[in-house]
C-alpha cells in the first residue's frame, strides 16, 4: 500500500512533501506537545532519527491536533519546542488535519515506516512500553533494519498507544 502524499510546512515555514525524496526509507510519525505518551517516547524517536539518518532514512514528525482548543499544540508552540530541544528532523504542522485523516493516524505517537517506494511497511507504536526507555523504539528500528536489508518486516503492525489526535 502506497502512502498518501502530502505537502506540509515545518516550524520554519519550509514545506515538505513525502514524494520527491531519494530516501532509502522514511519514518513518519504523529506526535504533539502535550501528550504524556508522545513526550515519553519522543527522545527515543529522535534517537532513531539520528541513528538512521546516515543510512539514508528520512524522518518527519507531524502534529495534527486542533490548536484552537489546544493552543499548546499551535505552530508557534511547536517552533519553540523544536528550538529548545534541537530536533534532528522537521516537525510538520497539519493544520487542516487532512493528512492525519488520509493516513488513518489516530494517536500520538503513531508511527509509520515506508520503504524507498513509499510503501507502508510498519505501523504502530515505537516499542512495547512508554515507561521503559531501554525499549529504544525497537519496533521501529526492526522495521527499518528489515526495509534497509530488503527483507520482510517481521512485525508490520502493532497497536499505537497514546493520546487520541484532537480532532476539530
Amino acid at each position: 500500500m502506497s502512502a498518501p502524499d502530502f505537502e506540509l510546512p515545518d516550524t520554519e515555514g519550509v514545506r515538505h512533501s513525502l514524494s520527491g525524496s531519494d530516501a532509502a526509507a522514511t519514518v513518519v510519525y504523529w506526535t504533539c506537545n502535550h501528550c504524556p505518551y508522545a513526550l515519553a517516547w519522543e527522545d527515543r524517536m529522535h534517537a532513531v532519527s539520528r541513528d538512521y539518518a546516515e543510512r539514508g532514512v528520512r524522518t518527519l514528525a507531524i502534529n495534527s491536533n486542533d490548536a484552537e482548543r489546544y493552543p499548546g499544540d499551535s505552530l508557534p508552540a511547536m517552533a519553540e519546542r523544536v528550538a529548545e530541544e534541537d530536533w534532528p528532523h522537521p516537525f510538520l504542522h497539519d493544520e487542516s488535519q487532512e493528512v492525519a485523516r488520509a493516513w488513518g493516524a489516530e494517536r500520538t505517537p503513531h508511527v509509520f515506516v515506508l520503504d524507498a517506494d513509499l510503501n507502508l511497511r510498519y505501523e504502530g507504536a515505537p516499542d512495547g512500553d512508554y515507561e521503559n526507555e531501554s525499549g529504544d523504539a525497537e519496533w521501529v528500528r526492526a522495521a527499518l533494519d528489515a526495509v534497509l536489508a530488503g527483507d520482510q518486516v517481521a512485525r508490520p503492525n502493532t497497536e499505537a498507544v497514546g493520546c487520541t489526535i484532537k480532532w476539530r
Binding site: 504524556p36 515519553a40 482548543r69 515507561e131
Partner: protein, 80 residues
C-alpha cells in the same frame, strides 16, 4: 490500598465527559487521582483543555501519563 490499610472497594471512579463537568470538578486532565479530595501529585504543565491526558513527572523527571507510584503510595499512607 491494602498495603496502606485501606479498602480498595472504596475507590470511586468518575468519568468526566464535558468541559462543563471538568470545570465543576476542577478536573485538570485524565487521569486525576484524589485521596479524600486531595490530588496525589502536583499537576504537570497545564493542558489547554482538561479533556485530554495529563502530564505527570516521575520522581526521576521522566514525563508519564501516570503519577509516580511512590507519590500514590505516599498519598494513601498519609490518609490512612
Amino acid at each position: 490500598m491494602e498495603e496502606a490499610g485501606l479498602d480498595p472497594a472504596t475507590i470511586e471512579l468518575r468519568e468526566v465527559e464535558t468541559e462543563d463537568d471538568a470545570a465543576r470538578e476542577s478536573f485538570p486532565g485524565s487521569p486525576t487521582i484524589r485521596v479524600d479530595g486531595v490530588d496525589v501529585a502536583e499537576a504537570g504543565p497545564t493542558a489547554d483543555s482538561p479533556l485530554t491526558c495529563r502530564v505527570y513527572r516521575r520522581r526521576d523527571g521522566r514525563p508519564s501519563p501516570l503519577p509516580d507510584p511512590e507519590d500514590v503510595r505516599a498519598a494513601l499512607v498519609s490518609r490512612a
